[in-house]
Symmetry: C2
Subunit: 328 residues, 2 copies
């Protein structure tokens, strides 16, 4: 049984709380918050959890076996380092950090202390996505050549909103673009070529970003993310012998395999919960096996993904105040 503590009480913390209820071998025992009033939504869902004032108190809770970091992006590093210092295994929400430099600090701390750390790229752990990745690796669609993936959610255009606030690492790329970037790495490895451009909010945050990645094996990824529009979240993985089509691909419960002979074979993998249960179960599996990293989401890959995110930001000239700390 993994007894969980959550750092933060926002929307994603509430979603993880819901997921834990249907997660095998997991139980939520505590939550850490800086403002007790923010915990109300979460504690209504899980009245039995201990609410700690401040993150430090949560880390000292001896009944917490693992910590889920659900703070805003800009606090992923500090919250994860705090947990690691206390010897708590960490599942850190995506994007893992603001930039590669922050991510490297976190990975270094985990490795130095010999404590488990994993990026909470939940989509990767779903049974549907695992089967997709297996099929692609096995040559089911012939030679995989390309990935086309889009993802967009309409969000409040208010310039003071978190998603448009550069102080909080706002914008489409960090919040949404991380999903297709991660999938591209998962399927084809790190990119060798990157092109990107974006449209911007008045605050400077990117409202829409498109990027094209080319990979060492000659594959190409075309991705687009938006905080201005709700999208169907279509993804298609294209091979010389067929293709895989997914809707709502970031949280897949189904996909269609299309073969060159024209056949379309639907595959269905219903969740028990909202989909986050699969990443929580991965953490339990790893802890039970004494692993310090997930073989499905290794830390070197997380670092490589952050490098790609930095490179895309460089192409679109998107800088965050948090970058400055590490500059020069």
């Amino acid at each position: 049984m993994t007894r969980w503590g959550i750092v933060g009480t926002g929307k994603i913390a509430v979603a993880f709380t819901e997921a834990l209820r249907v997660t095998e071998g997991s139980r939520l025992v505590a939550v850490g918050t800086r403002d007790i009033r923010n915990a109300a939504r979460l504690t209504r869902l899980a009245p039995e959890v201990r609410v700690h004032c401040g993150y430090q108190a949560l880390m000292r809770d001896p009944e917490v076996d693992a910590v889920y970091v659900a703070t805003p992006h800009t606090e992923h590093r500090s919250a994860s380092l705090l947990a690691l210092e206390h010897g708590k295994p960490v599942l850190c929400e995506k994007p893992f950090a603001i930039n590669h430099s922050e991510a490297a600090d976190m990975v270094r701390a985990a490795r130095e202390r010999g404590v488990f750390l994993m990026e909470a790229m939940w989509t990767r752990f779903t049974p549907a996505m695992r089967e997709v990745v297996r099929m692609v690796a096995d040559g089911t669609i012939g030679q995989p050549r390309a990935l086309v993936a889009e993802l967009g959610w309409y969000s409040d255009p208010d310039p003071t909103h978190r998603l448009r606030n550069l102080e909080l690492g706002g914008g489409a790329l960090m919040d949404i673009g991380i999903y297709p970037v991660s999938l591209a790495h998962h399927l084809f490895g790190r990119p060798v070529g990157i092109a990107a451009t974006s449209t911007r909010a008045t605050t400077g945050a990117d409202e829409q970003t498109g990027a094209v990645l080319t990979h060492e094996g000659g594959q190409l990824t075309s991705l687009m993310c938006s905080i201005q529009v709700d999208s169907p979240a279509h993804a298609v993985i294209l091979g010389t012998g067929g293709r895989i089509e997914m809707d709502r691909w970031y949280n897949p419960t189904a996909f269609d395999l299309l073969l060159s002979d024209g056949s379309r074979i639907p595959h269905r993998f219903p969740h028990r919960g909202n989909g986050m249960e699969h990443e929580a179960e991965e953490v339990s599996r790893c802890l039970a096996a004494g692993r310090l990293e997930s073989p499905l989401m290794p830390l070197d890959e997380t670092l490589s993904i952050m490098e790609t995110m930095d490179a895309i930001r460089s192409k679109i000239d998107l800088r965050f105040p948090a970058d400055a700390i590490f500059a020069g």
Copy 2:
């Protein structure tokens, strides 16, 4: 009645011949070829047509009211100029030319001589696409913000194949990428920002190209084309109040309108033929009205599209021998 002559006897000439059989107010009367043996497939379909040896003879045929240029890309300019010199209205296959400079020659010749000229971007004239464009312009999906469109056809990887031959303007971008580039211009106008990258055949031709365009109104286009894989040809036009989803969007007979309230409204516009009948009818309409350009595919837009194609090629460093003629 528009009496047509076709320059060239390849696959696209055969497709146009098929389309003319169901085109209102059109009839195929003649074809010009440099090698009479190549005309067999076309004349089996239309045994009554006159076969001229050489393009010049076709242009002199007094019964030909309009000429469809169906040669390889690299001969679009010379064949179109020849027709225009003979006062024949021209429908020129896409891509209109190898580069903007060639296209400008063609447009100049048409305007100087006062002869009709139009790019055969057939997808634009289909009833389904016309309705899509009307809806987007009318605000049916709120503020349009983005277009995501992919298109790929598996083709013979033989490096000597036309599609991989730089001498013939080969590669995915020129043959296939022109479709989403044209649609982006049609919906959002000329781009103000362009990013692109590609993967290459051993010949240097692009096998896959991804590009991102940003437009003056803040819209973003994410496009991808391939000659390595068969794709579903998904396109989605994303707005703040809904979206339009299309399959086989380059030859649309249907699309779905999705509104913010969750409703999905299918629209169906079956073709009479293979879809090319609509561009032929546009030519007849224009000629009957005494127009020298189509209001749906004006020459200035064709020129602007060629500029974008040149700019994407510059980003991916894709040069054709035919470019050199106009360099410096």
